[in-house]
Amino acid sequence: MAGMLGDIPYGTLDLMILKTLQSMGPLHGFGLARQIEQVSDNLLQLNQGSVYPALQRLVQEGWIQSEWGVSESNRRAKYYSITNTGRKQLRTEVESWHRTAMLVQRFLALET
């Protein structure tokens, strides 16, 4: 079963996290992971644990920030939210993603 699901394309997890945080507002790690899974509609095999190193990296880049808070179910959890530099970064990444996608599409459109 799992074999049919794709791994996360390289370098796209950051983009997914930033975009999710931008549109959903502050989320904790579990919420974020679930959100990504739902949006990807299970096309994606996500080890939920792997969002944490990615989150850490984004915090260090200064694109997101973290804060301890309380979850809906009354648990202590760390909430992540996107920063202004994060928004800027997201815009550049989205642009570059579109360019890449367009480029690939043109090649695929070539007559065989």
Partner: protein, 877 residues
């Protein structure tokens, strides 16, 4: 990867524990929330927990990655390795202590050498522009005249300023204190500005102070001002007596100033170009100091002055000689040969680094032994995925920790030894020598410790990277790989023994030199001879006739002392120092037009001198009452001079002291004496002439008296007879002559101590290493030995087995040692005194000592081997 927030990453290294805990909390919350969700969907609690975990993936992996992102992994890993290393060292305290001891000794000796070099050998003058302050002199210890200095200072271009100085021992009389001898410096008024030294009180010398007939003035050191003059700020203008003559204090020179050497008072030096060669003894030859112009090298200054001097000598003497060469070198470069202090510094560092090398070989061996002992452990870890880098990292971490501890130990050793040396420094050191640990020593120690770590770690690290996991995992009590390790270890021991051997041979040669010297039959029997210096006040004894009369009366008074069997006055005593160098010419050669200036030791003596030193003249007669001022001038020459220049017999031949106007009187040779080492130990020339004090009338003399009574009972009567006819003549440096000889011998003693310390340390380390390797060998063969014992092998057989192995190792090192030591011993060559570099006694005894020590090193492991219990040895596998 971009490091946008490196500080945060570095911080993460230190807050690792807290950050880990935070991550744990976060993951915990995540799992619980996931579980809650599954519970809501109707799963059982167990299923929910499992599902939550499954979704999360491998928790440890996430943590690991989190950490990698979070902090500077490299630093964190090194931290972990250091911790690991410290833990594993704590488990083997004996091993760690041995290695730290070895490294402490290995690092401590170079550190000590460094601090000695810095303070004594290559010191900086405590002055501004210290690197431009130069000593200027004629080559070959040729005396410098006032005329030379006057010419130099008016014509030279290389120096901003030049100054002249003379050292003298004078007496200092301050009201309320006993008159006593003191080292004084005569300096031209240019000297203090040149050195940029300001009096802390009062003024320096003006040109007027140095002019003829100026009222006598004196500068005194801050020490005298504090100790003798109650640090009175109103002291300027006070009269003190210098050599019995009143002089007015015009200034106090600051603490720590002792130019030219260790002077305490200073008088203005008047340079009189019309005065010929200063006629007295070594203490009064003229010294010159100069401040090089910015950008001018000592070499080019020497070239300029040499050109000047050759021109000068050509017009004055009609020729140039070795003394026309001018040498310019750093003021603190005090050895007779330029560059000798650098050479000595290199020697010190070289020697101590050899000890360091031995220590590192030792440590490498211990590490190798450890690696072998742990190889299975390591192999298992490699097999389950630990990277080789990680294993090597742990090795380096261990060595790094050990080297750091060794550096600390080494610093303590250097510190302690420097304290000790500071306590035993003989008086009379130059003022710039200051035995103190400096901050630069710390850098040096850090450097040496790092070097030691690399040297000690390189071979074990290479070995570790080479060994094959698969081979190691096989059962291999005596497999190929362990044989390979054994070979490296054997070679290291060989190197240790060979280096120790070389160091000890050097030490042995110096010890033999010192020994030979003190046992030499000097042809002058120094035992029972007492010497003292007197110096005639310049004013009261301006006339040569007065000085000659004084000497004659004093000699008679001395000879009249009941304990004294013979007495004489002289300008130099055999074996110690020099009476001065003179250029002389031979009458025959001059007549034949083949004049050649000969440089000889020139000594003035009274009749009885040769009796005091038990020298029987080889030909002719001693000086006697006939040889007085005005009577035909005479000389006695030593055998070497006579043989070289008058092979047909020296008696009645004539020689004279060379001077510019060829006006000197011819001296008739009346006697030939055996060689009495008139120039001291290593004279620039060992040809010597002696002239009667009555005809030379030197202002400074030494008393030499042979006495049946001891030193103490002689001092008082000599002082008394001296005071009897002139209380103003000071007596100083009263000494038993064999003591002076021993002092002169000190260079070999110091050298032998130095080499012995290095050699003994190296030997100790080599023995320690041998002991370690043999112990290791025994442990490796526990099973084999156990089997032998179980089969009824004798204890003796076992002991022999171990000893044979150990001695095989030793002989390897000794053969290498001898091969290395033979050329190494030749390096000392000229520094020896009466010893062949291949002295069989030295080589033989050191071979013996090394074998004995090596035997001991193997003996203990051998005994341990015999205590192996066969049952346990076999069961252990």
């Amino acid at each position: 990867m971009m490091l946008s927030f490196p500080m945060e990453k570095v911080r993460a290294v230190f807050y690792r524990r807290r950050l880990d805990a935070e991550l744990d909390d976060e993951i915990q919350a995540h799992l619980e929330m996931a579980r809650d969700e599954y519970l809501v969907r109707g799963m059982s609690p167990e299923e929910a927990t499992r599902a939550a975990r499954r979704d999360f993936g491998r928790i440890e992996r996430a943590k690991e990655q989190h950490r990698d992102v979070r902090s500077v992994v490299w630093v964190e890993n090194r931290f972990r390795e250091l911790k690991f290393g410290a833990r594993s060292l704590r488990k083997r305290p004996g091993m760690a202590a041995t290695v730290v001891l070895a490294l402490s000794l290995g690092i401590g000796l170079p550190a000590l050498a460094f601090s000695l070099i810095e303070s004594a050998l290559l010191p900086r003058l405590p002055f501004e522009n210290a690197d431009r302050i130069m000593r200027v002199e004629r080559a070959g210890q040729t005396p410098l005249t006032d005329a030379d200095f006057a010419e130099w200072s008016s014509r030279q271009r290389s120096f901003e300023a030049v100054g002249a100085f003379q050292n003298a021992r004078l007496t200092l009389g301050i009201a309320g204190w006993a008159t006593e001898p003191i080292s004084a410096g005569f300096i031209t008024p240019s000297v203090l500005p040149l050195l940029a030294v300001e009096p802390s009180l009062g003024r320096q010398f003006s040109e007027d102070d140095a002019s003829q007939g100026a009222p006598p003035v004196v500068l005194v050191s801050e020490q005298i001002w504090r100790e003798r003059l109650e640090a009175d700020p109103g002291v300027l203008g006070t009269l003190i007596r210098v050599n019995g003559r009143p002089a007015q204090i015009v200034g106090i020179l600051p603490e720590g100033f002792g130019f030219p050497w260790d002077q305490q008072i200073w008088l203005p030096l008047r340079v009189d170009p019309f005065r010929g060669q200063r006629d007295s003894d070594i203490e009064t030859s003229l010294g010159v100091v100069g401040l090089l112009r910015d950008g001018v090298s000592a070499r080019s200054a020497a070239v300029e002055l040499t050109a000047l001097t050759r021109e000068m000598d050509l017009s004055n003497l009609g020729e140039t000689g070795i003394g026309s060469q001018v040498v310019v070198r750093g003021y603190t470069d005090i050895f007779s040969e330029p560059g000798q202090s650098a050479a000595l510094a290199a020697l010190l560092l070289g020697l101590t680094f050899m000890v360091l090398l031995v220590a590192c070989a030792n440590v490498a061996n211990v590490m190798l032994a450890r690696a072998v002992a742990r190889k299975r452990d390591v192999a298992v870890r490699v097999a389950i995925g630990a990277s080789r880098l990680r294993i090597a990292g742990e090795l380096w971490a261990e060595i790094g920790l050990l080297a750091a501890a060794g550096g600390l130990g080494g610093s303590l050793i250097a510190l302690g030894a420097t304290r000790v040396i500071d306590g035993v420094v003989p008086p009379g050191m130059p003022f710039w020598v200051d035995f103190r640990l400096s901050p630069s020593l710390l850098f040096f120690v850090a450097f040496v410790a790092a070097l030691a770590a690399v040297m000690a770690g390189l071979i074990p690290a290479l070995q570790a990277s080479r060994s094959n996991t698969h081979d190691l995992l096989k059962d291999d009590a005596r497999g190929a790989s362990s044989y390979q390790l054994g070979r490296v270890m054997r070679r290291l021991i060989g190197v240790e023994l060979a280096l120790s051997f070389v160091l000890l041979v050097w030490a042995g040669l110096f010890i033999r030199s010192a020994n030979n010297y003190s046992q030499t039959d000097f042809a002058f029997g120094p035992e029972g001879v007492y010497t003292a210096r007197i110096s005639l006040p310049e004013e009261a004894y301006a006339e040569a006739a007065d000085r000659a009369r004084y000497a004659e009366t004093l000699r008679d008074a001395l000879a009249a002392i009941p304990q004294v069997t013979s007495a004489a006055l002289t300008t130099a005593v055999p074996g110690v120092g020099s009476g001065g160098i003179a250029s002389i010419e031979l009458e025959d050669a001059t007549a034949a037009g083949t004049t050649d200036l000969l440089r000889v030791q020139s000594v003035a003596v009274t009749p009885g001198f040769f009796d005091v030193f038990r020298a029987t003249l080889l030909a002719g007669r001693d000086f006697d009452a006939r040889d007085r001022a005005g009577s035909p001038p005479v000389a006695i020459v030593n055998a070497e001079f006579a043989e070289r220049h008058f092979p047909g017999g020296a008696l009645d031949q004539r020689i004279r002291i060379a001077d510019p106007d060829n006006s000197g009187e011819w001296l008739t040779i009346v006697g030939v004496t055996p060689d009495l080492m008139a120039g001291g130990l290593s004279p620039s020339t060992s040809e010597a002439i002696y002239r009667p004090v009555a005809q030379v009338a030197p202002p400074a003399l030494m008393i030499a008296a042979r006495s049946v009574a001891g030193f103490e009972s002689l001092t008082a009567p000599i002082r008394e007879s001296l005071m009897g006819f002139d209380p103003d003549v000071p007596l100083f440096s009263v000494q038993a002559h064999d003591v002076s000889i021993d002092l002169a011998n000190a260079q070999w003693k110091w050298m032998s101590i130095l080499f012995l310390i290095c050699g003994a340390t190296a030997l100790f380390l080599a023995a320690l290493g041998l002991y370690g390797v043999m112990s290791f060998w025994v442990i490796q063969r526990t099973r084999e030995i156990g089997v032998r014992m179980a089969l009824g092998g004798h204890r003796g057989v076992i002991v022999r087995l171990v000893l044979r192995q150990g001695m095989r190792l030793t002989s390897l090192g000794l053969i290498a040692g001898v091969l290395l030591a033979l050329p190494a011993a030749r390096l000392l060559g000229g520094a020896m005194f009466g010893v062949s570099p291949y002295d069989p006694l030295v080589f033989g005894s050191i071979l013996g000592v090394l074998i004995a020590v090596a035997w001991l090193g193997c003996w203990v492991p051998a005994l341990r081997a015999t205590r192996i219990d066969p049952m346990r040895a076999l069961a252990a596998e």
